[in-house]
Symmetry: C2
Subunit: 257 residues, 2 copies
């Protein structure tokens, strides 16, 4: 009997052209499909929660697939990890209802953007952080970011090339914190536009060293003008940290084994 | 006029055979010497504080060299970093007395050992952590480690191949902490024997999942028997975090420019 499974996937995006299959390099999706198809003995398509860009990392990407297999869901990570390269790890497997869709059922996502804020780039975390040599005023960044909390038209926070029908999104929580040389932005919302978190990060970096006024973040919610904001921050600083679904959507009712 | 300079160096040890020149691959020392010699126009030898092993990382390695240069010490990192690969960064430069020796003048060093304590290895921090899938009792590890504080004969905590004249060392502080999946050991002492921190880490891992009794750490200080302790933990989890010198040894007196 074919059933639906949901995987939690972590990856270092450095070597990948992104989640989705592209012509210019290996994708995480293909890498996962290759391992899964080998494990299950036939080609198996996976559908991800988020189509992360080239170089973007994930701690908690989610992906669903349909299969008729005797492998218990919780054993899938162990079996898959023996077939995956070390920069992709499956950290959880769950049997879910057929109605759960990794992308369309998403309730909320959390992204983390990491900045190495020091005169010299980090040797150790160079592929997991963006380097900003000028000192950032983190309190100012945190304050400015609060303008984004709530439901707004985020059209200004969207790169050309997005295919969203509406640019209205809800941000529930956003925070900027410093721990020594590391500045971390975390943002949780119901959905995100193309490059939205990297535009938020790039703008906050400009706010943090006085290149843009803190009000620009709020202003852009009215003007809807991309030019009111800063540059798109580099992909390597971004991590898809968590994807959440409504609890009831994950509950499997009376399915026979 | 030839003067002595002290650099602070950070590196991702993954691609290196260690600090010191070896036949089996590029060393951090050679990499730094190549950049420095290019910058200064003649071969310049650097002397490191610590000869870190293959795969071991550094946040704050120190190295001295002698040169007659017009480049101000504080500009050296900027100049050198343009010539170094991204996995090696010079983060500080200091003019020091000729009597300061990067290795022999060391007062204290701090090492950090990082463990990813989760069922599956980390995709993101795979080269900066050791993976331990079984759940570790961090309080027990922290308690057991306290036996090492003070001045002891650490002969049991030393791999064969070390060349130290005495195996007596002083540990000032040792701590094991957990933050989610990450378990971190930090240890500060006046000097360390060959593989000492990795043997401490490996033993604490065994203590943390009940394979060795916590008392073994103390017992080994008396028996001086390597076999009373656990395996040497993998190099990739280890970082040389900080090297400190006596303040007065760094003070330059009345040197003419």
């Amino acid at each position: 009997m074919t059933r639906r499974y949901l995987l939690t996937v972590s990856y270092d995006g450095t070597a990948y052209c992104g989640w989705q299959a592209q012509k210019n390099g290996p994708s995480v999706q293909e890498t996962l499909e290759t391992a899964l198809s080998r494990l299950l003995g036939s080609f198996t398509r996976v559908t991800g929660a988020s189509r992360t860009d080239a170089g973007v990392h994930a701690l908690g990407q989610r992906a669903h697939f349909d299969a008729d297999t005797g492998i218990p869901a919780e054993k899938l990570p162990f079996a898959l990890n023996t077939m995956l390269p070390p920069d992709v790890r499956v950290t959880a497997g769950l049997l879910v209802p057929d109605t759960l869709h990794a992308r369309f059922s998403v309730m909320e996502k959390t992204y983390t953007y990491r900045i190495h804020n020091a005169p010299h780039a980090s040797a150790l975390y160079r592929s997991l952080t963006a380097h900003v040599p000028v000192a950032l005023d983190v309190s100012l960044m945190h304050e400015a970011a609060q303008a984004l909390v709530g439901t707004h038209d985020f059209a200004a926070y969207c790169a050309a090339g997005g295919s969203a029908k509406t640019t209205v999104r809800t941000i529930r929580e956003i925070a900027v914190r410093r721990e020594g040389d590391r500045v971390t932005l975390t943002v949780t919302g119901n959905a995100f536009l193309y490059n939205m978190v990297r535009i938020i990060a790039g703008t906050l970096i400009d706010v943090g060293h006085g290149k843009l006024p803190p009000e620009c973040m709020k202003t852009a919610l009215t003007t809807l003008n991309r030019l009111d904001l800063g540059v798109t921050a580099p992909a390597c600083g971004l991590e898809l940290t968590e994807v959440r679904y409504p609890e009831e959507s994950l509950r499997v009712h009376n399915q026979n084994a």
